[in-house]
Amino acid sequence: MSDKPSVTVHADLCKACGLCIIHCPKGTLVASDKINVLGYPTTVVANDDCIGCANCYLICPEPGAITLVKP
C-alpha cells in the first residue's frame, strides 16, 4: 500500500456536478468527456498529487462516488 493518500472516482456513480473539482486544491480531480452509464461525463483522477484533504469526499452528494484512503 502506498504511503500517499489516494482518491478514486467510481465513474458510474458520478453525476458530473463538478463540486469536487471546484474544491480540489491540487487539481487532482478534473472533468472528462467519458460518458458513464448514467449518461454524464464523469469526473476523473488526473494526477497523484492528492493530499487527502477530503474536500471531495465531503462535498460529493452521491454516496459511494468517491473513495479516499489516507494512510
Binding site: 463538478g18 471546484i22 465531503l58
Partner: protein, 471 residues
C-alpha cells in the same frame, strides 16, 4: 492507521427499493440532499446507531429516504412527519427517531405538526432541508422563498406585500422552551459540511442519550429549480441565502438537560376491555350466524334522523356478538336532520376486504328516494324491505323479493316513530333467521338503558318480528 472515506454501511449497497438505476440516488446532480444523507449515514455508523435509527420520510424530494438507508423507515403523509415521528418515538423509546423533512413539508403544510412536536420536546432529531422552494413539484414559491427570488408561482420575484416574509424556522424553534439543540448548517462547501458534521453528530448523540428534541435546519442548494449551475448555487447560499438564514447554533441545552424517559408501557387487551366495561364473557360460545352465503351485504337507507346509521350499527354489533366479522360504513350529509343518509354493513364468516356495498343482498329503504336509488341495485335473490308507511310507489324494475313493512306506523303504535329502525331490525332478524328474540331484547336493554326507552323499543322490535313471523 489508515483512514478510509467511503460509502457508509448505513446505506444499502444496492438501492433495491428503487425501481431503476439502483446504484445511485434519485437526487439531481449537485443537490444538497445527497450530501446530507451522506453525513447522516456516516454519523450513524460512527456512533453505532444504524440499527436503532427509524427514519420518518416526508413528501417532497426527500420522500425516497427509505430507498437508501438500511434502517427502519416510515413514510408520512405530506407535512405529518413530525407527528408520525412522535408516535414512532413514543412507541420505540430505545430507537433513534429521525424526521427528515423539506421546507414545503415542514414549513408550509406541516408547520403545526413540527412546532408542537418541538414544543413537547419529543425525543427525535428533525432534519429540516431548506432549499427555499418546492423542489419535487417544479419550483413553486415556498414560505421560505427569499424576497425577490423568482419561482414558477412568483415569476417576477417574491414580494412582502403579496407573500409575507421568508419564514425563519430555526429561530422560531429556538424560541420554544423544550428543544435541546437548534441549529442551522449548510452543505454547500467543504467548510460548511465540516461544521454540519459536528452539529449533526451532537444531535444524534442527544438522541442516543434521550435528551429531547433536536432541530437542524440544513440550507441545501437546488441547482435545478434555482436555474443555476452547481457552483453558482453553492455560492448563492453563502452570498445571499445565508444572509436571510444565518448559520449558527441558536440553542444548545445539552449539558443542562437530563434524559427524558417516555416509556411506552405495553397494555394487555384485557386491561383495556376492563376499562371499557367489555370484560369477556366466558359463557359465550363460538356459534356464528347461520347464513346462506359466507358474507351478507346490507344497505340501510333513509333520510337523516330515521335511524339508518343506528340500524346499521345495531346490525353490526349484534353480528359481532355472534362472532362474525363486520364492517359499518356510514354515508351522510352535514345536516343533523333531513338530508339523505345510509349505512353499509357487511357481515361475514371471513375477513372482510372492503366495507363498500355496491350490490346489497339486503336493502332497507325507509323513504322513497332511497328505494328508487338503491332498489334497482339489489340482485336476484336479494331482499328489499321498504317502509310502506311513507312509500306508496314501488319501482317496477326491482329484482329481489320485496316486502312492504309499515315501519313508521308500527313504531308509532309502540310509542315513538323514531323506533321505525328497530321495527325493521325485528323484521330482518326473524325473516333471515339471524338472531334469537331473547338475544335482541338483551341487546336493546343494554343499548337503551333507560327502562321506558327499552320498553318502547322492545315493543317495536316485537312488532317487526311478528310481521315476519306471520308472512
Amino acid at each position: 492507521m489508515a483512514k478510509v472515506y467511503e460509502k457508509s454501511p448505513a446505506f444499502f449497497d444496492t438501492f433495491e427499493r428503487k425501481p431503476s438505476m439502483q446504484k445511485t440516488t434519485h437526487y439531481c446532480p449537485g443537490c444538497g440532499h445527497g450530501t446530507l444523507n451522506k453525513i447522516i449515514a456516516d454519523q450513524l455508523t460512527e456512533l453505532g446507531l444504524q440499527d436503532k435509527a427509524i427514519f420518518v420520510g416526508p413528501v417532497g424530494c426527500g420522500v425516497f429516504i427509505y430507498y437508501y438507508f438500511e434502517s427502519a423507515a416510515v413514510s408520512a403523509a405530506h407535512g405529518r412527519a413530525s407527528a408520525v415521528a412522535t408516535g414512532v418515538s413514543r412507541a420505540n423509546p430505545d430507537g433513534v427517531t429521525i424526521s427528515y423533512q423539506g421546507d414545503g413539508d415542514l414549513a408550509a403544510i406541516g408547520t403545526s405538526n413540527a412546532i408542537h412536536a418541538a414544543n413537547r420536546g419529543e425525543n427525535m432529531i428533525v432534519f429540516f432541508v431548506n432549499n427555499n422552494t418546492y423542489g419535487m413539484t417544479g419550483g413553486q414559491l415556498a414560505p421560505t422563498t427569499l424576497i425577490d427570488q423568482t419561482s414558477t408561482t412568483s415569476p417576477t420575484g417574491r414580494t412582502v406585500k403579496n407573500d409575507g416574509y421568508p419564514l425563519r424556522m430555526a429561530e422560531m424553534m429556538a424560541g420554544l422552551e423544550a428543544p435541546t439543540l437548534v441549529a442551522r448548517v449548510g452543505v454547500n462547501s467543504p467548510r460548511n459540511v465540516r461544521q454540519a458534521i459536528k452539529v449533526i453528530k451532537k444531535g444524534l448523540e442527544i438522541q442516543r442519550d434521550k435528551k429531547g428534541y433536536v432541530f437542524i435546519e440544513v440550507l441545501s442548494q437546488c441547482p435545478t429549480n434555482w436555474k443555476k449551475d452547481t457552483k453558482e448555487a453553492c455560492e448563492w447560499i453563502d452570498d445571499v441565502v445565508s444572509k436571510q438564514y444565518p448559520f449558527g447554533v441558536f440553542k444548545d441545552m445539552t449539558d443542562e438537560r437530563d434524559a427524558v424517559e417516555r416509556r411506552c408501557e405495553r397494555v394487555e387487551f384485557s386491561a383495556i376491555a376492563k376499562q371499557l366495561g367489555l370484560e369477556a364473557d366466558d359463557s359465550s360460545s363460538d356459534a356464528q350466524i347461520d347464513m346462506d352465503k359466507d358474507a351478507t351485504q346490507f344497505k340501510f337507507a333513509g333520510f337523516g334522523g330515521q335511524g339508518v346509521l343506528s340500524l346499521g350499527m345495531m346490525m353490526a354489533q349484534l353480528s359481532m356478538q355472534h362472532n362474525m366479522e363486520v364492517t359499518w360504513l356510514p354515508s351522510y350529509g352535514p345536516e343533523m336532520r333531513g338530508g339523505v343518509a345510509n349505512s353499509s354493513v357487511v357481515v361475514s364468516k371471513n375477513t372482510i376486504g372492503s366495507p363498500v356495498v355496491e350490490l346489497p343482498d339486503v336493502l332497507v329503504a325507509l323513504n322513497r328516494p332511497s328505494l328508487e336509488k338503491f332498489g334497482p341495485l339489489v340482485p336476484e335473490g336479494g331482499m328489499i324491505i321498504y317502509n310502506s308507511s311513507l312509500i306508496d310507489q314501488v319501482p317496477a324494475d326491482l329484482k329481489g323479493s320485496v316486502f312492504a313493512l309499515p315501519a313508521t306506523e308500527l313504531a308509532t303504535e309502540a310509542g315513538t316513530a323514531k323506533a321505525a329502525n328497530v321495527v325493521v331490525l325485528g323484521f330482518i332478524a326473524r325473516k333471515a333467521a339471524m338472531f334469537k328474540l331473547a338475544d335482541l331484547e338483551a341487546f336493546l336493554t343494554e343499548t337503551f338503558k333507560k327502562p321506558a326507552l327499552v320498553e318502547t323499543n322492545i315493543k317495536a322490535l316485537r312488532a317487526g318480528w311478528e310481521v315476519a313471523e306471520n308472512l
